[in-house]
Every structure is written in C-alpha cells, then in structure tokens.
Symmetry: C2
Subunit: 262 residues, 2 copies
C-alpha cells in the first residue's frame, strides 16, 4: 500500500461536531470537485484512508457509501472505488415526434442515436393484449383492454430506457401495430394511416429513485435517479390514442422542450 500524499486530503477536525464519516466524505467530495481525482480515477483504498485518518474501516466505508448515494463514486469489488464518469447524455428534443421526422421512415430512437454517432439497439420486445391498469385506462378515456408494446433501448450496449406503449384494442387489433415490427415511421405513422391524424401530445415528467427492478433492467449505478415520462397522444378528434410510459436513466438524458410564449 502506497502512503497517501500529505496535503491531498486534509485532517479531521476533532473539535467539529460534524461526524467523522461526514468529514471524510466532505474531504473526498471536495477533492473530486477540485479535480484532484479525475473522472474514472481510483480513490485511495479503504486501508489507505484508515491509515491516513486513524479511524476504523467501517467509518471509511460509511463515508464511501455517502458518496455513492450522491452518485459521485462507484465501488468495484476487488478493484477499488472510482470517480463515476459522466456518461454522454442524449438530448430529447420536443420536436422528436414531428411528422417530418416520421416521414423519413425510421423510428425516433434510431434516427437520433445514429445522428449522435452512437450504436442504438432495441431489446426485449414484447407485444400482447392485456387489461389496462387504472392509470392507463383513465388516460385512454376508460378503455379496459389494450395492446401493450414493451421494449428496452440500449446505446452502445448500455441500457438507457425502457418503455411500454398502450393502445386501445379497437384501434390496434389486427393492424401492423400489433406486429413486432410496426413498419417504417413506427406506430405513429401507422396510426395516421389508420385515419387517426395526430394532433398533439401531452407529456408528464417525474423524477425519483429507481425500484430494484429498474436498477436491474437499466443496470443503474447507485445514486442515479430515473426520469419517468408518461406521454399521451391525441388525434385530431381529441381522442387519446396511445399512452407511452417510459423510464429513463437520468444520467443519460436531457429533455428539451420549446414552449410558445403566447
């Protein structure tokens, strides 16, 4: 174990009433903030910090767990604790469902990812008829049974988002929307061909910590929230024709909207 360079991290303040593990977390956070430890770089090992601060190992681990909860660092078993690199973010523009994009024939996800130079993938596709949950049913105007399309999206091999689309059965049953591959332009193009000219979308955005299921599905590091987006598509007659429920890894996305001032 190489000795820790003095001055790299400060010393504990025994007069402070701030808990020791918090002081150590503060030191490390500060050092990361100052760029003393760069992205992806390894922090001092637990043993080194035990030595440096003269505390027990559990105390140092507690400090690390604080920083993990903040999403600043991540631990790798047998290797060390590393500054978490900020992954490239995908920008979701508010015009991503504009008709002109749909007419190019590829789905919104694939078009955008290609443009950003990433390798996109779709995964775990599942299409089936099922009973609508209460929330979905309410948003679709009370329908009981829906066609559900679920899928997961990956960027350069990393899962970033999974989504479920729900459509009323009287619209989707027997159409290409009920096929695994909905064809060029995606289900929105098919909806318009079926006479449901899309008028507008409503999106609701929440952020929260992920459930254990979501951690698994999106392979989330600890300290990474999710963005929960619920989009409802309305046709020209004002009918809700689709609800899309999307959960995104928050560190992979920026959502961008343009609002009129009128």
């Amino acid at each position: 174990m190489s000795p820790l360079q003095s001055g790299l991290l400060g010393e504990l303040d025994p007069t402070s009433d701030r808990a020791v593990f918090r002081q150590i977390a503060d030191h490390l956070r500060d050092a990361i903030g100052r760029g003393r430890f760069g992205e992806g770089e390894k922090l001092p090992s637990e043993a080194e910090l035990v030595e440096h601060y003269g505390v027990s190992r559990m105390t140092v681990r507690h400090s690390f767990s604080i920083l993990q909860g903040e999403g600043l660092v991540h631990a790798e078993h047998g290797k060390g604790v590393f500054v978490r690199p900020r992954p490239p973010v995908r920008r979701l523009a508010s015009d991503r469902f504009a008709r002109r994009h749909r007419e190019e024939g590829k789905s919104a996800f694939l078009v955008e990812a290609d443009a950003a130079g990433s390798h996109p993938q779709v995964d775990g596709l599942e299409v089936k008829e099922e009973k609508a949950g209460p929330d979905v049913s309410a948003r679709l105007g009370g329908v009981r049974r829906v066609l559900a399309r679920r899928r997961r999206y990956l960027l350069d091999g990393r899962p970033v988002e999974f989504a479920a689309s729900y459509l009323p059965l009287d619209i989707a049953r027997g159409t290409q929307i009920a096929e695994p591959n909905p064809g060029p332009g995606g289900i929105y193009a098919r909806l318009e061909e079926l006479g449901h000219r899309l008028d507008h979308f409503e999106e609701e955005i929440r952020a929260r910590m992920p459930s254990p299921d979501e951690v698994r599905t999106l392979r989330l590091a600890s300290g990474v929230p999710v963005i929960h987006l619920i989009r409802t598509a309305f046709d020209a007659e004002g009918r809700a024709v689709e609800v899309c429920d999307t959960v995104m890894a928050a560190d992979a996305y920026v959502l961008a909207y343009q609002l009129p001032a009128t």
Copy 2:
C-alpha cells in the same frame, strides 16, 4: 419492546446467496409495498428486527440505509424509522408562462399555489449584478455581466424550489427588474413593457441527486432527487433575454408539457 408479530415479516433464507441485509431490506420493502406499513407509519425498531432475524444491529441498520437511499423510509433520531409519506405534488403546466396568465398580475408561482389551496411563500430574495458563468453567458449570446435574481419558493412552509434568473445588464439595469419587487406579472411583464415581446421559451430538464448544499436549502430527505430545469426566454427578434436556472425537489413536482404533432 413489543414482540414482532410472526408472519409480518418472513424469515431469512440461509441457502440464498443474497446478502442478509438485502433480504431484510427486501422484506421491509415488500411489506411497505403491500400496505402492511402505511404512509407515515413506524417500522419495527432496530432492536425488534435484531431480535426477529437474529442478526447484529449494524446489519439491520444497513438494511434501513438501503431503504433510505431508495427514498422509501426516513429515520427520526430518538423516535424510529417511518414510511416516508408522499407529499402532494405540484403540477407545472407548459402554459404557465402564457401571456394571459401574466396579465392577471400575480406571479406564476403564487397563482398556481393559491389555486391548489396551498400557502405559498417566497424567501431569500437576492438581486445583484455579477459576472455571468460560462454556461449562462453562452445561453445569453455571450454577455459578460448580468443581473441575477435569486429566490427560494416554499409551499405550506416546505421549501420546494430555488431559482436564479439571469438577465443581460443592458436590458435590466435601472429598470424595475433590478428591484426586489418587479411588480405585477413579474419580470416577464416588465420585459414586454421594455419592448422585448416574448416569443418562446426553451427548457432543458435534467434529474440527479442533490449536492449537500441543495439538501440543506431544500431540506431534502435522503433518497429524493432534484429536477434541474434551465429555461431560456427569447424575444421576437430571437434574442435570449433571460436564463432561469431552477432546482426543484423531485418529490414535489410533476412537469407537464403539451407538444404539437406537426
């Protein structure tokens, strides 16, 4: 200490390779999910769980810390660990800056909160001229110095959001925008009176875990992310006339947007 009702929580599976503290966290999470412990209700004390599972206290505490990180529970020193109640959420509609609302004379925050039956407050108001940070400068088209307006918003005494508005000095200096109270309709009404007819807004949304500063300012429970919203206002000539940087407690907000399908 009252004995734990048997059957309330399961027993450990010694053959499982899942860590004990995770199994306990799973049991508690499951029990909360099933409504076995309702919102605001007290979970069994550490000592009771130590007794029930036959493990050491640190192990039980580890389980609790997992659930805290997920935002499911919160601990109160000397009292117990409680299921975290879901606070009422405030819905931010995408037309909240529409001119027709501005003309009513009250600020967007106060109007909405009153409508929702809550008691709104604004706090820590600070108005001053300063050097623009690189991000703000870039968004405002390269201006170096700006007027900064900072404030914190509270709902029924709970801080839910703090925001900083930045305006180019050549627009704001010497106007009512530079006063603590910008007058009826807020700074957007003043901007329009000054000849900057607002054309549209751009909003960028991110979600992440809060910094320690943000935890303090918003009095955030652990396991609650923040929504970071950056809005840029453009006038009819296409000039960026304001950047507003807002950090919101994620558990207090739903953002709603309406998008055209064209």
